[in-house]
Amino acid sequence: MGKFEIALQQLELAQRELVAANPSDFESLERLGKNRGAAINAILELVEDTEPSIDQLERLKRIHLGGILSVERIRGARQAFREELARLSQQGQLLAGYQIGSKSEASSGPDSGSNGGPATPS
């Protein structure tokens, strides 16, 4: 078995592990992504001195496509966190604004703005 085939199998293994991982577990994915990056670097070093087969080319294409799919899945998971952060940010702004408003009300009466203005979340 040639060096290129070994490197390609390692890349396929790294790819499978990446696909199998939870797309929201970014810490684990970071580690798996580095393994995949190392396998890609190994392929990169060998590709100039190797004559890959058509089968190997097809396998590389599948890895490439699998990577695109993984990226999309991770982007989807990221989007969920982004929305959660937006919601928390809204809550933080409202709470901070209300607390400022409450202090103002305590000194000037109930007609003061109870919703407060935009505030930086703490």
């Binding site: 970014f26 810490e27 994915l29 970071e30 992504g33 580095k34 995949r36 990056g37 890609i40 670097n41 392929i43 990169l44 590709v47 100039e48 004559e51 890959p52 058509i54 190997q56 080319l57 590389l60 294409k61 890895i63 490439h64 496509l65 990577g67 695109i68 993984s70 990226v71 991770i74 982007r75 998971a77 990221r78 966190f81 982004r82 959660e84 952060l85 937006a86 919601r87 928390l88 940010s89 809204q90 809550q91 933080g92 702004q93 409202l94 709470l95 901070a96 209300y98 607390q99 409450s102 009300e105 305590a106 009466g109 109930p110 109870s114 919703n115 935009p118 930086t120 979340p121 703490s122």
Partner: protein, 455 residues
Amino acid sequence: MSLTPLTFTGVSKYSTDFQTILSRAVSIANIPAKAIQNQQTDLVQKKLIVTNLQTATTGLASSLTALAAIGDKRGLSASSSDSTKVAILTSTGTTAASYTVSEITSVAKAASETSAIGYADGSSTAVSSTGSLTLTLGSHDYPITLTSATNNLAGLRDAINNLGVGVTASVLTTGTGLTPNYLSVSANDTGQQALSITDDPGGAATSLLTSNNQGANADFKLNGVPVSKSSNTINDVVPGISFSILGTTSVGGTVSLSLATDRTTLTSALQAFVSNYNSVSRQLDGQIGPSAGVLSGDFLIREVQGDLRALTGFQGTGTIKNFSDLGLEVSNTGELSLNTTTLNGLSASAIDSAFTFVGTSVNGLGSLNSKFTQLSDPINGLIKVQQDQYDVTNTRLSSDLANITDKVALLQTITAQKLQAADSLLAQLDSQQSVLTGVLLSVNNALYGSTTVTK
């Protein structure tokens, strides 16, 4: 083959997006904190309302107390026909009466004398031949001994003042002549009495002071009976009236003092009562009915409502039996008003009954003031208790809100970290895909001589 190396700078291309989320102005979201905020807003409104109610009920209690005071004195008020000669100070009488003050020949004044001669120096010229002197005030003699160091005007002044016998001494400096310094001695109280200083009382017995003003009593006649008082404030001659003698009368001049019923005091007190009643009533109006405020159905509102009904429904036992008899009218909207035509039209006996209706602090309408002081007492009144409860609740809600705020902040931090980890990962994978694309191009070219590759 030359490809772009893998790079992981750690700089997220989504960081600007992240900042946009943080700084975005947002509308109210459906979050648990909103319920707490609403409760706090309600509490602020409730506290404001009960505070206004406290002010209003305090005013009503005060006006009832004033009515009770008038009823207690049967509306009697003292007056003087010439307040420049005789002024009424206080009046506590409960029986109508009149008195004549005549022949005010003297207004009380304090004895006050100065030294018969002047002295060259106030702090060194000797004032006594022996250092032994006697101060005489009224029928009392007070010995004074001056040493060689204190035998001067200042020393004598200090010695007199230190006696503490109701006399004040001071040194006057005229600035004229060779002996410009004089001693001034004045009694602290008004009234005719001897005031003198005798030098060497056991020997030469020289008088040091003039004898120009030995004080004076207030001398007058009350109903023809001579009266002489050391003070101008006369509070032990006429029962229920305290007055002050301010000036002498001309020959034959008289001043009349009278203690008589004064309807205007009752009218004024009833008008104040009406105004304060309506203040309380208006406070209640906002919390009763279909458009009631945040205190709708609150026990405090019901309590005050009941107390107002107790007022308007109060029943007397004499000619004046109720509000209407006194000219107090309640409109369909609950507004109270005073019909002065009805009040002014009351006979003398009806007015007397009106004072009975108004009562005192322990009976009659006036006694109902306790109902309102129980509400408005600033220390342990019902309203104060309610305000304190609002404060306790508000503090608890603020604490809840602070806890929620802390939790949200923590979640924000954690989520932001997740997002940054995702950005870093995506950047890493994007870079890997670029390298893979390069590898595919290279392999494809080697096999087919073409650069076409599936992206």
